[in-house]
């Protein structure tokens, strides 16, 4: 757990020095009495501030993405502590803990996190204040980078972001990755989702075999790394299907609107999205292929008898690719803290999440207001998945990047 060797840990200190230099200059300004000089001083200060601004942006941009070749520093020791019913030594937790959401308010991540914020304090020693802060940007990468590099490393900031960022780190073609998934200290994740592709009633296609035999199915999608964009392209790669992905719709709602307006003939999304379930009820579309092994008939009876990607005997390398891409579906709404948070704090936080997840009051509240069914994973389980993703051979990752149409 020695993290100080990583170059990233030094940056915040550096930054602070520059900022305080600028601030000193500023504080002197009001003392000046002659008004015209006053002006000049202020302007000089501004120059310095601008300079500090410019240097601040450097860590975000020029910091090379951490290499993924170094072996994972396995952090299984704390787990032993957490399973003890009594965590005896009092660990100094911050008075206020921020749950940093990488999305704007109102989405699935926000809904889940609001429930967590209501229940987590009761499971933390000393009942610290837990608040929710939104920092949307760059498909949650902004929040992930900040938590890794610049937020305080004392456990006062717990972030939640898209797990597919780890897949993007592995593929290594995305700009802006300034974190290493293996160094994040994962606490837990809240939900598990499964991807599925639907075909609209107005389409002549009614089975996955039709598309495997060369008929084209046009599907609407939001972005290239979303389930709607990436999963049909993976199917093209693995099953030789003929999905044509139309990218760029505004949100899942926009993608569904295109389906209802008969602009497209299908859509790939998750099995339990409210928007999907409502359309299954109306019978405007039906599922044609699942990414999970068993049809989730408990979610909706329409899934009965839907074939799975696993039924088509994928090769070993295909299995790895499917596992890799669907990992982000399985680990939905994960919580993590930065790499330099002390291990005893991490242990306490993990234990608190675990105890919260066992609490019937939390479970009931989550089912009602959490934005979906609870399907948690522990921090250790997430670590294993991260390790699986980041130890994928390079040529397979390159294949995946090409299949998804991600430019180098």
């Amino acid at each position: 757990m020695l993290k100080d060797a990583s170059g990233l840990g030094n940056q915040p200190v550096d930054l602070k020095n520059k900022a305080s230099a600028a601030a000193h200059g500023y504080m002197e300004a009001p003392v000046m009495r002659q008004r015209s000089h006053n002006l000049l001083v202020l302007c000089v200060v501004l120059g310095m501030v601008a300079g500090a601004c410019a240097t601040e942006s450097v860590p975000d941009t020029t910091e090379p993405a951490p290499t993924v070749t170094q072996p994972a520093a396995d952090t299984t020791e704390p787990a032993a502590d957490t399973t003890q019913p009594t965590a005896p030594e009092p660990v100094a937790l911050p008075d206020e803990i921020t749950l940093l959401v990488g999305f704007a308010p109102g989405g699935a991540f926000d809904l889940a996190t609001q429930v967590v914020a209501r229940h987590l304090p009761g499971h933390l020693p000393g009942e610290p204040n837990v608040i929710v802060e939104h920092r949307p940007g760059a498909g949650t990468m902004l929040a992930a980078n900040a938590t890794f590099n610049t937020e305080p490393q004392d456990g006062s900031v717990i972030a939640t972001f898209f797990f597919s960022l780890i897949v993007e780190q592995a593929i290594g073609r995305a700009e802006g990755v300034a974190f290493d998934g293996r160094e994040f200290q994962w606490l837990a994740s809240m939900r598990t989702t499964e991807a599925v592709c639907f075909v609209a009633e107005h389409s002549a296609i009614d089975s996955i075999e039709d598309i495997m035999n060369g008929e084209e199915l046009v599907v609407s999608a939001t972005g290239p790394m979303s389930v709607s964009g990436a999963h049909p392209r993976l199917l093209n790669h693995v099953l030789g299907t003929n999905f044509r992905v139309v990218l760029g719709y505004e949100g899942l709602g926009g993608a569904f609107l295109a389906l209802e307006g008969e602009e497209v003939d299908g859509i790939c999304t998750t099995t339990d999205t409210a928007l999907s379930l409502a359309r299954l009820d109306q019978g405007v579309m039906s599922p044609i292929i699942l990414f999970g092994e068993e049809p989730p008939v408990d979610i909706h009876p329409a899934y009965e008898g839907t074939p799975s990607i696993w039924d088509f005997g994928p090769t070993d390398s295909d299995i790895r690719l499917i596992d890799l891409l669907t990992a982000a579906d399985r680990i939905y709404v994960p919580y993590a803290v930065g790499p330099d948070v002390p291990s005893d704090v991490v242990a306490v936080l993990r234990a608190s999440f675990e105890s919260m997840l066992m609490d019937p009051a939390f479970v009931a509240d989550f089912e009602e207001a959490g934005g979906g069914q609870l399907g948690p994973s522990t921090g250790e389980e997430i670590e294993e998945v991260v390790d699986m993703i980041l130890s994928t051979p390079q040529e397979l990752l390159a294949q995946l990047g090409d299949a998804l149409g991600i430019e180098e």
């Binding site: 308010p105 139309v246 949100g251 709602g253 307006g261």
Partner: protein, 670 residues
């Protein structure tokens, strides 16, 4: 069906007056009024705070609270825009063009009552239009695909020309710059970060709030600092004028209704909404007036048209949200989240089996509007007195609120910097007669039109241009918008080259036939060169992107370079008089030296205030900046100075604790 529709409609009306629904509506009205009045802070901040709380409420109470808040905050933002020239919400920026000059002239009361009364009618027209359209609205929206939506955005873009009257070249340049700004961020197609300078904060584009606040609020603050006056420049006129305002609305009733319908229609289109419809309504008000020269100087039509569109759009934008699950704006996205948590899934059921719920939304919009307007009307005279408060007291509070608004929109300190940059541009544009509305309109339409263009192309290739509805829209575009524009442009250029001064609105100072070259080198030239270099850089930077990411930057960048080059060349050759937009007024009687000195002081103070907030956080930075201002620049009396500092401190504290806005503690303290 129609009988059912009617009875559900009537039941919905009485449903609003049951307890606790009416209680939550009153609460929503109160919250909406407070957040709406705060500049830059609007429904988004309020809904973010209220959302987790509403999960604990009954669905009817929860939606009533959220919708009443959204409705009234749109109303109250208009008040801020009119009184202070500071957008209460980016969606009410258009009111600054004419509402604020009215306030300056001492007619704040008239402007406010005209606006509120028009808003009321707008909300009612919008709501009833939705009700009338319920049987056809689903097929109507579904008959629109990406190609049709794309054409709708193009029609919106043509309003740039309407909003640049008086300064066509400058307006066109500003509009193209706005379109270019909208392209900043990760492109929706190939995920390439465009013009982000390596900053992740820019991946989602440049926010509307910081730009709208910078472009409109900063120049007004600047003006107050430089002139050291209060907002109302005359003291002899009545600040009330409430009745005159209502009479204005009755006189312009058809304009109000037409603007309301514009608002409703634009609201129905997914992805558009009040930020677009206010400008289209304003453009329409200008276009339909026989005397266009009054606009920008306090024409009452400019205060009532956008007000009506702003509120009628709310009803309109409910349709894509509840009928299709496509929220047109962030407030609507929050509303959608509330629906989903309460188990209400948007879709056709909202227009059939759950119609009663939809009807109750419509009534909440109308009734909360009525209550707010009726409650506010008697106080408008009092509210209008604010325009007489000395600038020295107003400036620090407004500045603090503007920076808070810029920050709170997305919670990013970088947006303070963007506000300052937009503010600098705004000051330059106002002083030099460059119209700002085209820039904002370009900015709100560029990204979305690119999105629809690409989904259209990637779905249908060029075949999308041959779809019947698309052909109809192209026809509309050509006949109604482009043809008159082209004719006017042609005639304008002809008369201009014959030396007519038709396009000089403010009696420009250079009337001599052949001025020396030196006098032609002014700040206008600098802005022109800035546009050329910006356009060139944008085009060059895009050169190695794939075609999907490059097409729009080039489609905007090349014309920008061409037109701004033309502008600069014409200026250097002295062909035609300097254009001055009718929406921008150079306004000062100060001598040149004092003006420059005070401008420099104002600029330094504004930038210093932002820097102080950045370094030591809002809690300390804002009071410090206030102290510097009152003690050093404005030299107010000690009692007033202390009062200012205390007020600002209190404001920051209240917004932090009561509205739950999380302020960063500043780079030094953090």
């Amino acid at each position: 069906m129609t009988g059912d529709l009617f009875s559900t409609f009537v039941e919905g009306f009485f449903g609003v007056f049951t307890w606790p629904v009416i209680g939550f509506m009153l609460l929503g009205i109160l919250v909406g009024a407070v957040v709406g009045l705060l500049p830059g802070i609007g429904a988004v901040v309020a809904l973010t705070v209220l959302l987790p709380f509403t999960f604990l409420l009954e669905p009817s109470a929860a939606f009533t609270l959220l919708i009443a808040t959204t409705t009234v905050s749109a109303n109250a933002s208009d008040i801020t825009s009119i009184l202070f020239g500071v957008p209460g919400d980016p969606a009410s920026s258009a009111l600054i063009l004419d509402g604020y000059p009215m306030a300056r002239r001492g007619e704040a009361g008239r402007a406010l009552s005209a606006n509120l009364f028009a808003s009321l009618i707008g909300a009612a027209v919008g709501a009833f239009a939705i009700v009338a359209a319920i049987p056809v609205v689903r097929p109507l929206v579904l008959s629109f695909g990406s190609p049709e939506f794309f054409l709708a955005t193009v029609i919106g873009i043509t309003f740039i020309s309407l909003l640049s009257s008086g300064a066509r070249t400058k307006g066109l340049i500003a509009g193209l710059v706005g379109l270019l700004i909208s392209l900043v961020g990760v492109d929706p197609h190939s995920s390439i970060p465009r013009y982000t300078f390596g900053r992740l904060e820019l991946w989602d584009g440049i926010g509307l709030a910081p730009v709208a606040l910078g472009l409109f609020a900063i120049p007004e603050l600047f003006h107050l600092i430089v002139t050291r006056a209060s907002i109302a420049q005359t003291t002899d006129t009545k600040l009330g004028g409430t009745r005159t305002g209502i009479a204005d609305v009755i006189r312009h009733r058809w304009l109000v209704i037409r603007c309301s319908l514009i608002g409703t229609f634009v609201g129905i289109l997914p992805g558009l909404g009040a930020p677009v419809s206010q400008w289209m309504a304003y453009g329409h008000a200008v276009q339909s007036s026989p005397n266009k020269d009054r606009f920008g100087k306090g024409a009452v039509e400019g205060a009532l048209g956008p007000g009506a569109a702003n509120n009628s759009g709310l009803g309109g934008s409910l349709i894509p949200t509840i009928g299709f699950g496509v929220p047109g704006s962030l407030p609507m996205a929050l509303l959608l989240a509330a629906f989903l948590v309460h188990g209400i899934v948007p879709g056709p059921s909202m227009l059939t089996t759950n119609l009663d719920l939809t009807m109750s939304f419509v009534w909440v919009i109308v009734i909360s509007n009525v209550i707010f307007v009726v409650a506010a009307l008697p106080f408008l005279g009092v509210i209008a007195q604010v325009t007489r408060v000395p600038g020295s007291l107003l400036v620090p509070i407004m500045t603090t609120l503007v920076f808070i608004g810029a920050f709170a929109y997305r919670g990013r300190m970088l947006d303070l910097g963007l506000t300052l940059v937009a503010g600098l541009l705004g000051v330059a544009m106002t002083r030099l007669g460059w119209p700002r509305p085209p820039l904002v309109l370009g900015m709100v339409l560029g990204g979305i039109s690119e999105r629809y263009l690409f989904t259209s192309y990637s779905r249908y290739e060029f075949g999308f241009l041959l779809r019947p509805m698309v052909l109809v829209l192209i026809g509309v575009l050509l006949v109604v918008f482009l043809l008159p524009g082209i004719l006017r442009l042609y005639r304008g250029w002809r008369t201009q080259s014959h030396g007519s001064d038709q396009f000089r609105m403010n009696g420009s100072e250079d009337d001599e036939p052949t001025p020396a070259l030196a006098s032609r080198i002014d700040l206008n030239l600098a802005l022109g060169l800035l546009a050329i270099s910006g356009g060139t850089l944008a085009v060059l930077r895009a050169a190695d992107w794939p075609i999907t990411a490059r097409l729009m930057p080039w489609a905007v960048g090349f014309p920008l370079v061409a037109i701004s080059t033309l502008y600069v060349v014409r200026k250097l050759l002295r062909r035609g008089a300097e254009e001055v937009s009718r929406f921008e007024m150079a306004l000062t009687e100060l001598d040149r030296r004092t003006l420059w000195l005070r401008s420099a002081i104002a600029a330094c103070w504004l930038v210093g205030a932002a820097a102080a907030i950045w370094i030591i956080g809002f809690h300390w930075g804002a009071p410090l900046a206030t102290a510097v201002y009152v003690a050093h620049l404005a030299r107010t009396r000690p009692a007033a100075a202390i009062l200012s500092v205390l007020t600002v401190t209190l404001f920051v504290w209240m917004i932090h604790t009561q509205l739950g806005v999380r302020f960063p503690s500043g780079v030094l303290i953090g």
